[in-house]
Each structure stands twice: as structure tokens, then as C-alpha cells.
Symmetry: C2
Subunit: 198 residues, 2 copies
Amino acid sequence: MRILLIGGTGTLGSAVHKALTGRGHEVVTVARGDGDLRYDITDPAQITALYAEAGRVDAVASAAGSVPYRPFAELTPDDFTAAFRGKVLAQIELVRQGLDHVAERGSFTLITGVLARVPVLTGSAASAANGALEAFVRAAAVEIAPRRVNAVSPTVFTESLGRYGSVFPGMRPVPLAEVADAYVRSVEGAQTGQVYEL
Amino acid sequence: MRILLIGGTGTLGSAVHKALTGRGHEVVTVARGDGDLRYDITDPAQITALYAEAGRVDAVASAAGSVPYRPFAELTPDDFTAAFRGKVLAQIELVRQGLDHVAERGSFTLITGVLARVPVLTGSAASAANGALEAFVRAAAVEIAPRRVNAVSPTVFTESLGRYGSVFPGMRPVPLAEVADAYVRSVEGAQTGQVYEL
């Protein structure tokens, strides 16, 4: 398959890239600064330009999305809006604008995260963003068939424990290779409206 | 208790008002056009003014929040942003700005809805908004203790079946009085971080 991989050069994106190319897929990476294609998906107009340049694809996989982490009382309306634009709306627009650019049974795979279901200190904007996306995936799936949409919702990566472990005390980490497997499952499988919790 | 009830004059708000006053509480209604206090909570600055005027309260209950319903392919970035501002950010700001205005063990009760967990056609923006709020409630609860925050997540109201029933085919409706009971449970009870599914 020909797969557009957003955030394809980051920690997670690199692992997904390795898994997908390892299975023989052609992967086109998209990132702000160093992808095969350089676009910022937090701007809906750049998503339009991205799809115009990318042409027809069989699948779109996203490993991109940033949200601010801060104690709840310190998170401003601008912070919550940044989480919405940076992770939620960006990925919703990848699906909506991508409808005419993926194959008939093509798929969209979005990234959410464990904070949709488990609270951590400083994570309320991330929780809201992830919860929005997981409900969105269930809802959009019924409207876009036979095209498909799923979410990958991992806990902290084993490889990122040193940097982020303190935010997730006692929670079992997941190796990046296992998270990448969930992308493979979404892209090559038949399910839709699923949230793969890892 | 002295309770601030946002959207207190609408279909749901009126039922919640009846339940709370019936249990001896003093209820101050807030609405854009016809409440005891007249404010638009989709504007964070108006929430600041609302709390300044309302003074100290024991609980804040919200029955307000609007989102656009439209086929997914027709929902624009502006529509999703309207859902975010009109239902998600508005209620998050009620909590955040309300922290200094509620009693030590005071509560916030927000309104979400069944679309967080069940998809319906034209409901993807509503699903995203509800999913965001339910994850937010779980996350904020751990940061604002001993203050509390819960969500009430009802399906279609029995009393609204004539108007909205076609959007929820075959789903069992819930009487407004039962939804109002969930507000009572949240306000007078001891739980936090809960989503009351009805």
C-alpha cells in the first residue's frame, strides 16, 4: 500500500515507519521540518495543500499531535484551544479532507493516548483532547464506510520512560514496536471505529 | 445549598431546577436571555463576570452546551471549533474559573451525552465534544479535590422524542426527572470524576 504517515520522523512515527516499510508498504512521511513532504497539519489550509501534493493513497496514519501539560488551575483557555487545534482538529481534518484522497476501503489511523481513560496530574488538556478523538473515531466510522478510521491509544512508551515516566507513576509502559503493531493492525485489518488501547 | 444552575431555563435546566428546589436548595439560574443572571458562558470573560456577580456558591450545575449536527463530510473546521467553544471550553472554564468561588467541598456537574459512547449519523462533532468532557472530568477530579466534578451523560430525553427521536433510532429514552436525579446525586453526594450514564 501507499501510506501517508504524518509525524513520520518523530519517536513514534519512526517506529511506525519501520513497521510499515518492513511489511513492504511505500511510506510517505509528513512533518513540519523534515518529512518527505513538509506541512503543518494544525493549519487546515496546509492539509488541503498536503493532499493535493500527495495524490492518491491507500491509508493515512497519524503519529502527530501536541498538547500543553500544566496544573489544571494554570491551564488557560488558550492552552485548551491549543490542545484542540494541535491534536483534535488537526487529526479530524486529516480524516475529513482525506475522504476524497484515500482508496475506497482506505483507512485513517489516529493517535490518542491513555489519558483518555486514566487521569494524571497536569494532564487535563491532554485527557480532553484524547477523549474527544476517541469518541470522534467511533462516530466518524459510521459515516465514512467503507473507508475506515481507528485510533491507537498507548500508555507511556518504554523508550520514553526516562523523560516522561514521572508523569505516569506505576503505570506499565508499552514498547514502541507494540504500538507500531497497532498501526499495522488498523491499516491492514478490516476493523473500523476501534480504539486500540495499549 | 446555594447552587448556580447554568442553562437553568431550558428543557433540561427546568427539570434540574425543579429537582433541586424541591429538595430545599436555593437555585440561581444563569442563561443568555432569561435567567436570574444573564451571561453567555461561551465567552470566558463573561464567566469571570458571572462569578463576580454570583458570589460564593456551594455547587455549580451546567445544563448548557450547543453543538452543530451535520453529516461528517459537511462539518467544517468552524463547526468543530464551535462545538469545542460552545460545549467543551465553556464548561471547562466554568470549573477552572469557579475553583475560587465554590465551597471547599463544592461540586461542579457538567452535561455531556450518550454520543460520547454511541455514534449516530450527523453527530460526530457532538461525539467529540462529549468525549472531551468525559475524559476531562476524570482528569480534573484528581487535581481539584476536595472540590468535586462529575458529568451527567444522558441519552435522548423521553420528553424530546418527538423532536429528536429520529436521530436516536431504537435507543431507549430517559425521562428528564431521572436525568435531574443524576444532578442531585452529583451535588449532594460524595463522588468525583464520575460520568453518570443514563
